[in-house]
């Protein structure tokens, strides 16, 4: 079932909704596997926040359940960063730091959207995401400035995810139309601020910024890494196998 977005607003809803859904599903994979009980609960909370955001955004874009559970991988509009595998705890934290720092800056500005739904959504979600970012910052600093092993793992986790950051600031025609319409802020307007915010965290964590790699783009057009299909297989299995199931 191909879902071709009809207008820039719907496309924006799908992009942000799929980001939240896929990252929420990813983080939920930690449930029951966290390094310690307290962290397990923290990660589950992050996941539930994100799935709540996805429910609102996809519900506004259309039939939320259908969009989440009955779309194929090529129709997903999330960025590549959020679908990256969890790896170890440090890699998960690196991904969360890089994504939620961007998401927080976006939501701060999205509160001024001329679109009433998006503005109200941003008001609610910005507080959740501020906490996500703070927790990711706390852990990045502790792991980066920790033991030899935690420093190495944190650096490797950042290195894995770094090449997916440029996609967060890429603007295609559809997004440009949404920006011109006052629906969403232009991510390029806070790219500098993002770089210096991440730089400040890495400095405090006594980590060097990873070397810039060839950026990988394409998630917003449905060109995903091999990881997303596996994630969707787990997430979509139940409602697709038992379409009449209720719970």
């Amino acid at each position: 079932m191909a879902t071709v977005a009809v207008d820039p607003r719907t496309e924006v809803l799908l992009r942000l909704g799929d980001d939240a859904l896929v990252l929420g599903q990813r983080v939920s994979e930690w449930c029951g596997h966290g390094p310690v009980l307290e962290v397990d609960i923290s990660l589950a909370n992050l996941s539930l926040d994100l799935i709540g955001q996805a429910t609102l955004l996809l519900g506004e874009a259309g039939d939320g359940d259908k969009l989440a559970f009955h779309r194929d991988v090529l129709d997903f509009r999330n960025c590549l960063l959020v679908e990256q595998p969890n790896g170890d705890f440090a890699q998960t934290i690196a991904r969360h730091l890089l994504y939620t720092t961007w998401q927080h800056m976006l939501l701060q500005r999205l509160q001024q959207s001329i679109d009433k739904f998006l503005s109200e959504f941003a008001h609610k979600a910005v507080k959740e995401v501020a906490y996500h970012r703070e927790l990711a910052v706390d852990w990045t600093i502790r792991l980066g400035d920790g033991t030899d092993e935690s420093t190495r793992r944190m650096a490797e986790g950042l290195d894995w995810n770094w090449r997916f950051v440029p996609e967060l600031f890429a603007v295609d025609d559809t997004l440009q139309a949404a920006i011109d319409g006052g629906i969403v802020p232009d991510p390029r307007s806070f790219e500098e601020e993002y770089r210096s915010a991440i730089g400040a965290v890495l400095a405090e964590a006594k980590l060097a910024a990873p070397a810039d790699q060839r950026p990988i783009l394409g998630g917003r057009r449905g060109h995903h890494s091999e990881h997303l299909g596996h994630l969707l297989a787990v997430m979509q299995f139940l409602p697709r196998t038992y379409p009449d199931a209720t719970w």
Binding site: P35, L37, E38, S42, N45, D138, R142
Partner: protein, 94 residues
Amino acid sequence: MSSDWPLWEVFVRSKGGLAHRHVGSVHAPDAELALAHARDTYTRRMEGVSLWVVPSAEIVASDPDQAGELFEPAESKIYRHPTFYDIPDEVKHI
């Protein structure tokens, strides 16, 4: 890993004006993460408006073996309770 982390006692104030109440404990490597763990473990259902965490090792407890000498003497001193006053009917909420 968890066993390497110190234990923190968690206190939650459920709303303004009330006192913080002990609700349980969490493991955390330092005070800041102890607050984060306390927040994630004990205020998920809007239980609180304020959190305290205190290193469990910093709490000085009375010795259960001394319970007799500490607490029993109070048992026979009912005059310490304000129960010998006649309360006028008009006074409510006492």
